[in-house]
């Protein structure tokens, strides 16, 4: 029996898999400012009093702004996925066209040696961790082959 796949606690509504993986931020109906995670009750532009904030699908591709990895297991509430712990990489990615940088884990198997500032990446939805009956999902970044 396959496990249920649900967004990890806290990330509900932060990303979608419909029409391809993408982050879902918000866009202010008044001034057009985009934010991620969603602004839910006030526009982050200090000169805008807008309160109508619409779900906005963000660009699923971007350019690495910076990157690192986690060689030691982070403390709780991080949930490890393997024992012994396996390091993972993280990247801050400048989304194409949205004017913002979003942090995310890099997919398994890709290390910092495969990355550089300026590397092109795309968003995927992947498993953050699993328990007996559920896969808890999250967005991750994956290098775009042939687009370095």
């Amino acid at each position: 029996m396959s496990k249920a796949r649900v967004p990890a606690l806290g990330a509900e509504g932060w990303f979608t898999e419909e029409g391809g993986a993408a982050l879902v931020g918000s866009r202010c109906a008044t001034c057009g400012t985009v934010s991620f995670p969603k602004s839910t009750f006030a526009c982050p532009n200090p000169r805008c009093a807008g309160t109508e904030l619409i779900d906005a699908r963000l660009s699923a591709t971007g350019t690495v702004w910076s990157y690192t990895d986690a060689r030691y297991q982070p403390p709780p509430p991080f949930v490890p996925t393997a024992d012994p712990y396996v390091p993972f990489a993280l990247a801050a990615v400048e989304l194409d066209g949205d004017g913002l940088v979003v942090l995310g884990q890099i997919v398994d198997g890709v290390t910092v040696a495969d990355l550089h500032v300026g590397r092109r990446v795309e968003l995927v939805v992947d498993t953050l961790f699993a328990d007996d009956d559920t896969e808890h999902t999250i967005w991750k970044w994956r290098p775009i082959p042939d687009d370095r």
Binding site: T33, R71, P75, P76, L90, V102, L128
Partner: protein, 396 residues
């Protein structure tokens, strides 16, 4: 506005990892600062505490907890929190009260007892809390955020891991002359590079530890300092506790993303640049006037960032400044003569106050073997979670 606010006394425990109650460190530092100022505790009219969020309710009300331990004296009180900027907020709050003419003797004190290992959120599921979420959803520890900045220096400015290690080498040399430092041992570039990588490109020895410690200053009006017979006290020339301006386009711990610059263009000055800028503007002092700086080397690479944010050099030139020896004691503008966080480890609410203590001792010429000759003007700078930065500018 009354006349200047001065630092009449400074006090600081040795930094370490003893697991005593944080209040104890606060009392020790406060008593040293009071003795240094020649002020009786019962003459203190105002206590500004830096809060610790890791020591239960007593830590939330640190100003009050430390006052109670010193013995209730009927002073007025506040407790401030702003992550690593907490101590500077408390200094700002006390200074304003004196400038407002509402008291003339204030004690500012912060102290912490920290757990081993990574700083991590309190227990319980809190999906509303960005600081909880970044651990759960990303596994992004504090060093991960430091490492993102470090990697930028390498890929964008051509820094090398050896440059970061040289920061540690410099600061460990400085710290050897500081009796309050926790680590007093010369470190070599090889030792840094041979230490395990924690968050690429940062090694264990690139990243500061967490420590126990307490620091305090007694602030008074210049008038009161004269009454106390303090001939030429160090003056507080400016305090900055500025927040970012939208859009903040550099990722802040513990956030998941930056603001978007899609609609509003970025401000002329980045947040990090604005921290010292606000202090310079208040004081009418510029980076060219500085004799000494204490900056937050949470990681070695971040000290290099600070050189640029303080205006000690142009963007991308920090490694050159370091390699020239300009930021070592004896150089043009020594940075972290105390040994910095590299030798102390971080005790959050005490650290910004400890930075001020070091600058005070430097400006008084009391820094012993780590003295910056002829120091006249000093700045402190630090940065914590959630858009908190602060800077204190002091002069003879």
């Amino acid at each position: 506005m009354t006349d200047d606010v001065v630092v009449a006394g400074a006090g600081m425990t040795a930094w370490g990892k003893w697991g005593r109650n944080f209040v104890e460190y606060g009392v020790e530092a406060a008593r040293e600062a009071l003795a240094d100022a020649g002020v009786e505790w019962t003459d203190v009219q105002y206590v500004a505490g830096g809060e610790t969020v890791r020591n239960g309710y007593a830590g939330y009300v640190a100003g009050s907890s430390i006052s109670q331990a010193l013995g209730w004296n009927g002073a007025q009180v506040s407790t401030s929190y702003g992550a690593c900027a907490s101590g500077a907020q408390a200094i700002d709050v006390a200074r304003n009260r004196i400038l407002a003419g509402r008291c003339d003797v204030a004690l500012v004190v912060g102290a912490d007892t920290t757990p081993k290992g990574f700083l991590a959120p309190n227990a319980g599921d809190r999906p509303d809390d960005p600081d909880w979420l970044r651990f759960r959803l990303l596994g992004a520890t504090n060093p991960a955020y430091f490492a993102l900045m470090a990697r930028r220096r390498i890929d964008v400015h051509g820094a090398a891991p050896e440059d970061f290690a040289q920061v540690k080498v410099k600061n460990s040399k400085h710290g050897m002359a500081n009796p309050r430092a926790r680590y007093r041992k010369e470190v070599t570039v090889a030792e840094v590079l041979d230490s395990p990588v924690v968050a690429d490109p940062l090694h264990l020895l690139d990243i500061c530890a967490t420590s126990d410690g307490g620091a305090a200053v007694v602030l008074t009006s210049a008038h009161k300092a004269r009454e106390l017979g303090i001939a030429s006290p160090v003056r507080v020339r400016a305090v900055s506790t500025v927040t970012p301006s939208f859009p903040n386009t550099v990722i802040e711990m513990p956030n998941f993303a930056t603001d978007s610059s899609g609609v509003v263009a970025p401000p002329p000055r980045t947040f990090m640049d604005s921290i010292a800028h606000v202090a310079y503007e208040e004081a009418g002092i510029g980076p060219e006037d500085l004799s000494v700086a204490e900056v937050y080397d949470l990681a070695t690479a971040l000290e290099l960032d600070w050189y640029e944010h303080l205006g000690l050099c142009a963007v991308g030139e920090a490694e050159k400044l370091l390699r020239n020896g300009d930021t070592a004691i004896g150089g043009r503008i020594p940075v972290n003569p105390s040994g910095g966080l590299a030798c102390f480890g971080e005790a959050v609410p005490a650290q910004a106050i400890a930075q001020v203590c070091e600058v005070v001792w430097q400006l008084r010429g009391e820094a012993g073997d780590r003295q910056v000759e002829g120091a006249k003007v000093g700045i402190t700078a630090n940065k914590g979670l959630f858009g908190h930065g602060s800077s204190v500018l002091l002069s003879t």
